[in-house]
Symmetry: C2
Subunit: 421 residues, 2 copies
């Protein structure tokens, strides 16, 4: 396959996926987005998952802001309505007096569930920051000047009537991760040792990159945090460089049991392209090399199912059977992340093997996940590649991984084709 | 197949399964049981899941107490060691000053995780009560005399140095379910409406039956609770009697969305045989008829996979795709529960169709789940019946559903064969 043909296909896919969500996901009564969307566009549940609300606001704004053909009033209007819904309903005060974001809301915004983790808040920050870039609303933005000398200090005890936007929520996230996580509501238990889970530094690095983009002052403010996130991610390189493990101890050593042996190839690949972006911004060749070898090539090789094709969801580094029931399923998002990671790694290194691997994942992905009849992609296949869950959106699948992948790949291919290599 | 041949096979299976756990699961250093046991008996994780610790103590004691060939010193010794481990380590004090049981402990008993539900405590009660029947230790037993007039009152503020045994934990469970669940630690949220989840009244009914067995005073004490549990279970008969739904509102009406439409055929069948036992104890023909028609025949018919055989894990009553990734997998425990439910329903009603259905499930179960090479049963198959997870024990699969099924079926077959019908 040629890069040109590939770009055309990806552009057409992105247009089609955007159309799907514009058509089916908007709640014109309460604002926000339906994300439980069946095979043919039917809404099979009205619950609003905050991760997905935040991600859709972010993705709409990013497309509106950076891609000419998506600079459409209906996209901006939907993003603003989604942002307003989040600002009005997502935040709930926790028992510690800090603000948590709900995990899930009713259609009209009543909190149903709060998770004891940081991710709802992360997607809230992503949404508010990107929305502020489109609307140029300073209230939503992060401020370049730190409020205190100590960049990890946190504003505690927010007034309930004051909008808590990207920066304040970001400071609270940093506080939970680096200073004191008790506000998340998990009981402290003697056997629950502090763990460095890949998702946490990955997500914070993503936020640092989001908040810092084209803002010199903010970049400086979060420089130390970005560097810390990278070091935390690099701690997941284990077994003398032979494996990426999803969970390690706080001091970067291997944890016992299933938790310690768990591998999540899609997550490692996603971390890979976050690291590649970080390396490119700084011209850091050492991080670039590590990212390509350890976070792109390694999880791609160990995660690929030689028998049936596709990337496994979970693996055990010692070859035991994972305890997650869905371990052998093929999910849309690891494939989305693999496409970005492999293409970005190729564009930075020009190693031909990486482009070959990209086309292998591309072939599997586009012959299995998209649904030409009903639009969008299926999300969940069996190990053998049969559709196992036939909805297009659900509690964890929204307008995010698919369009982000298509958007990123289109941009990288634009650059590659423009450079005429 | 003949009932006689079937009984011989089930007896041999039970002997073999007991041998497997006696051989591989005992932690002779710290007490308690390893439950993460691989295909060939290897321990792949040392965490101790409290549900499974309690269930194994219960099952060992039940076999020791009621089946002559299992009245062996090694079984009693292991049960006592498991009980001692639970008494020493399972209970953690919660922020409300009440006692919670941990969900998961390290090998040496340090709490790793506490769930915001009642089930660890339920299996603790089951274990302690059955153990007290074997050891005749009054401290562990429930007392026949209520501590207060009001049977749902609870002893709050236990002294930390005093053993909290079956009765006290039972009173706390009742308090959480019927009076005030705030001690479970879930934040109160406006969109989180009170729900009657099948598991809760089912589990409490199971405990009422456990605690009341052969104890007249206790039976009276919990009579009202048992009746309440039955009414709560019957609320799950929905759609004019055409479906059992897993979650209903507190007043017994259908809930919106995926939660409201969820069906769990294995759970409905398990509730079915709990109701059949309840009906038999009281000679209540109305409950017996409802149990057979609505909780045995109905979930068996709607839950059976006509294409590949076996019972689905989850279904949506309106035919939408469930959002649980594992919805179409075939798990060992719904099949275990179906075997008990169908055979018990047949033994009470002598309807030939129920015996035919029993043999259909029997055929599927014994041709798919047992592993003649490594012993015990596989727990998790794909929709098509291929082994998807090859371990014999895991975080949710211990020494419980398989031996309880074999034990119950052997006893029912003994009775059927003795009655020479």
């Amino acid at each position: 396959m040629q890069k040109h043909e590939c770009r055309q296909h990806i552009r057409a896919q992105l247009d089609s996926v955007v159309d799907f969500w514009l058509k089916y996901s908007h709640d014109t009564v309460h604002g926000g987005f339906f994300t439980c969307i069946g095979k043919d566009g039917n809404i099979y549940d009205e619950l609003k998952y905050v991760w997905l609300q935040g991600r859709q606001v972010w993705m709409y704004c990013r497309l509106y802001r950076t891609v000419d053909r998506f600079r459409k009033p209906e996209i901006l209007k939907a993003a603003k309505a989604g942002g307003a819904f989040l600002r009005k309903f997502a935040r709930v005060s926790s028992s510690s007096g800090q603000w948590k974001c709900a995990f899930c809301l009713t259609r009209d915004g009543k909190a149903v569930k709060v998770q004891r983790s940081i991710f709802s808040e992360c997607f809230y920050v992503m949404a508010m920051d990107e929305l502020s870039r489109v609307t140029e609303d300073q209230d939503m933005q992060v401020r370049a000047e730190p409020t205190k000398q100590d960049s990890v200090s946190v504003v505690i005890g927010f007034q309930t009537n004051k909008h808590l936007e990207a920066e304040q929520m970001m400071e609270q996230l940093i506080h939970w991760v680096r200073v004191d996580g008790s506000g998340l509501g998990r009981p402290q238990l003697p056997g629950d040792v502090p763990t460095n889970s890949m998702a946490v530094p990955m997500m914070l690095l993503c936020l640092v990159q989001q908040l810092s983009e084209d803002r010199r002052g903010v970049e400086q403010k979060y420089a130390e945090l970005g560097s810390w996130c990278v070091q935390q991610i690099l701690q997941h390189v284990q077994r003398d460089g032979a494996a990426i493990l999803e969970n390690v101890s706080a001091d970067g050593s291997e944890l016992p049991g299933c938790l310690g042996r768990l591998q999540n190839p899609g997550h490692a690949l996603e971390a890979g392209w976050f690291l590649l972006q970080y390396a490119a911004e700084r011209g850091d060749e050492q991080i670039q090399t590590t990212a390509i070898q350890k976070f792109v090539e390694l999880p791609y090789e160990s995660g690929w199912d030689k028998a049936h094709g596709g990337l496994f969801y979970f693996l055990d580094v010692d070859g035991h059977c994972p305890t997650q029931l869905e371990w052998s399923m093929k999910l849309w998002w690891p494939h989305s992340e693999a496409l970005i990671a492999l293409l970005m790694a190729y564009s930075q290194s020009r190693k031909a093997e990486l482009l070959q691997s990209f086309f292998q994942v591309y072939e599997y992905t586009f012959s299995h996940f998209p649904d030409p009849a009903g639009g969008e992609w299926f999300g969940y296949l069996t190990q053998e590649g049969k559709v196992a869950l036939d909805f297009k959106g659900g509690p964890f699948k929204g307008f995010f991984h698919v369009p982000r992948c298509l958007y990123m790949c289109e941009r990288i291919l634009d650059d590659l084709l423009a450079s005429k290599e």
